[in-house]
């Protein structure tokens, strides 16, 4: 817990094994309907008020980093799909980006465009699914989720055409992409992109016009900017608090400097701002998508000299990061000149965003904890790796 003088509430905590007449120790998870997977929170409650909250992770630990150090660079590409399984294509890109930086590989222009298009589509599905999940956490079990998933499915159909799989795409390669866009894909993508705006308008109208939603999310789970920055929080959660930090603008990678888009900023950083910032980001993503689909050039989808088999990057070290839908997604690779990385390290946004959970929840109700956890937008595959 990061200490901060502006903490709203402090109360006696309960040591393990100690019992108290007033306080109730509850273990939320790992089997719980709204912990978004196998996440566990050891909560101490005073009535319904959260007095202490300790996160327990690791139930989905799959030893991803160590496994990757014992395989070739390409072999760990399919494993990155399983990190954040809602948005595999950005994970693919992050690893490809890191390897390209390590080995100094050029990426053809068309491949960059394909990457931007798939990444922004991924951002759309992530934020759309987020809207459904957070409404589920609020108790509107299913209604928003099913409509969100209906739209998500249209994009997943596109992904299936492109990569062969709805979710486990395994699409990026060093120096480009695995295959070119299928015939007519760009036109189908344009249709989906053009239909997405009206859907967002409708969803936003229904969600934001609902007074219960406003009452449940406003002034819940906000933290001062300083605490968020010190905690390493990135992504929509940080921007909802008004910090202008988006890697697409701060340290443009790929071809993001060619597109015209803006970074929406919130003021308070509560759960409501986090929802609204994601709505606005989706609209900006649509803008990027339209531009990218208009300008899509012909050419190679992978660098002709990119070496796939027996790939040995030079000795060295590289950290490359992209703006994933959930925040800064970075891969740190150290090469010793062999086919396997010497060190392979991921900076997962959900894991780091989750570290401030206790600070956000103290003094609030148990019902708020669930919404705050939902507003952080975690995927346990990425948290536990």
């Amino acid at each position: 817990m990061i200490s901060d003088s502006s903490m709203p509430y402090s109360a006696p905590t309960l040591e393990p094994g100690e019992d108290d007449d007033q306080l109730l120790r509850v273990s939320l998870g790992p089997q719980h309907p709204s912990t978004h997977g196998v996440f566990r929170m050891n909560v101490v409650l005073d009535g319904e008020t959260v007095v202490s909250l300790k996160s327990v992770f690791g139930y989905l630990h799959r030893n991803h980093e160590k496994l990757a150090e014992n395989m070739t660079y390409l072999s760990s590409m399919p494993y990155t799909d399983r990190l954040d399984y809602i948005c595999p294509l950005t994970n693919n890109w992050a690893l490809a980006h890191a390897v390209e930086k390590l080995a100094g590989i050029e990426v053809p222009e068309r491949a960059e465009f394909i990457r931007v298009i798939t990444a922004e589509l991924t951002r759309l599905i992530n934020h759309t699914a987020f809207m459904g999940f957070i409404l589920g956490d609020m108790g509107a079990w299913g209604s928003a989720l099913m409509y969100a998933f209906r739209e998500r499915e249209k994009i997943l159909d596109l992904f299936e055409d492109l990569t062969g799989a709805r979710m486990m795409s395994n699409f990026m390669r060093y120096g480009g992409c695995r295959n070119d866009l299928p015939a007519g894909w760009a036109d189908r993508c344009s249709i989906v992109v053009n239909d997405y705006g009206p859907f967002l308008d409708e969803l936003e109208k229904f969600l934001v016009g609902n007074e219960i939603l406003l009452a449940r999310t406003q002034d819940v789970g906000q933290l001062p900017q300083k605490t968020l920055i010190n905690g390493g929080i990135t992504g929509p959660m940080l921007r909802a608090a008004g910090v202008n930090y988006d890697i697409r603008k701060v340290e443009p990678y790929g071809i993001y400097d060619r597109f015209d888009f803006r970074i929406p900023l919130g003021a308070k950083g509560d759960c409501y701002d986090r929802i609204m910032i994601r709505f606005l980001e989706m609209r900006e993503s649509l803008k990027i998508l339209r531009q990218a689909l208009d300008q899509l050039p012909a050419g190679d989808y992978i660098h002709p000299k990119a070496k796939i088999r027996n790939f040995k990057p030079p000795v060295g070290e590289a950290y490359a990061r992209i703006e994933g839908p959930k925040g800064e997604l970075g891969f740190h690779l150290i090469s010793d000149g062999t086919v396997n990385p010497f060190r392979y390290r991921i900076r997962p946004p959900s894991f780091i965003n989750l570290t401030l959970l206790e600070d956000m929840c103290l003094g609030l109700d148990l019902a708020d904890v669930v919404i705050i956890l939902g507003s952080v937008d975690i995927v346990l595959g990425e948290v536990d790796r």
Partner: protein, 406 residues
Amino acid sequence: MIFATVPFPSFTLESLPQLPKLLVEWLLMLVGAPDWLVSIGGTAAMAGTVVGVFLSAFALLSLVERKTLARIQNRLGPNRAGWFGILQPVADGIKMLTKEDIVPTKAEWLLHLAAPILIVVPSILALGVMPLGREWVPVNMELGLLFFFSVGALTELSVFMAGWASGSKFPMLGAMRAISQMVSYELPLIISALGVIMVTGSLRLSDIVVHQGDFYFGFIPKWNLFTPWGFAAGLIFYIASIAEANRCPFDLPEGESEIVAGHMTEYSGFKYALFFMGEYLGLFAIAGLGVTLFLGGWQAPLPFLGWVPTWIWFFAKLAVIIMSYLWIRGTFPRVRIDQLMRFAWLCLIPMALLTIPAAALWVFTGKGIVSWVVTVPLLLIPWVILTILFNKRLAPATRTYTFADS
């Protein structure tokens, strides 16, 4: 020759629900049973009819709810068992009956066993005093309304029993929530019914229905809902009944996204099914009371529809109310406990209290034009003031967002 001595009583479509009772009485008289046995047999048959009707309605509703929610959520819902999933309740019942009955080691087994039974019994008892048709009042009790509320309060006990006896923490939290919610919402529920008692001058539910029998101008039914005080009280009753029945958006005692299943977390198999059943029977009871108090019970909505058997009207109105509950469940998120309590104590109870003087003035000024002029401002002005105060202090604001320059 004995057959000739006891002719089978005649019955019409109107008194069709009486058929089991008449049949049992006739059979008993046929074999020459004493009068007290005939009376007991008839009453048992009557009770059996009510239980049977509402249990089939429960089975039907469990399917209709899933289907309706599915359509709201852009799904198909159960459609495998039988035609359009019509056999789904049967499949559910078989599943529930064959499941293992788990009692946690830390549970108080007796209370754990008694709680699901205790939630079903009061709901059936409460349904017993309901006038389901002109000639179909299972128990025409003089203090029917009082009986209904006192029996209905028992369900809170069983919910708390379930939460306490499970020896687990999520049920405990659910029970805590249930007690505070149900006690708070019982107040506006009962207070909003007081106006009806004052106007009718009787606690007998069938009297209350008969009192709403006439029509204004020959086509607007004289239901309590179509009076200023009745409209306000009916609305309050409707909101409070949703909370009392633990329905969304006031389903905090179950609160599946927070406390798993609340007081039902540690129940499985048929005990869980009994909770499910008790909840739906309670829903029927509370919605049925709303229909009786404010929507004219079994009265026909238009004068020329008087030929339709009255019990059809009662069940039609019940269906409308329950479908509105389903609609709300499909569209709203859940409120938080402090918002729930604030809403009850700051909004519902003051407004419910105001319906009492409004109902008194309505009777005092002779239920005419003058009454409308007097009672409408009495209710409307405090409501507007309350709304303004509430919005000023507590209403959430809409926000605008900026974009970064770079």
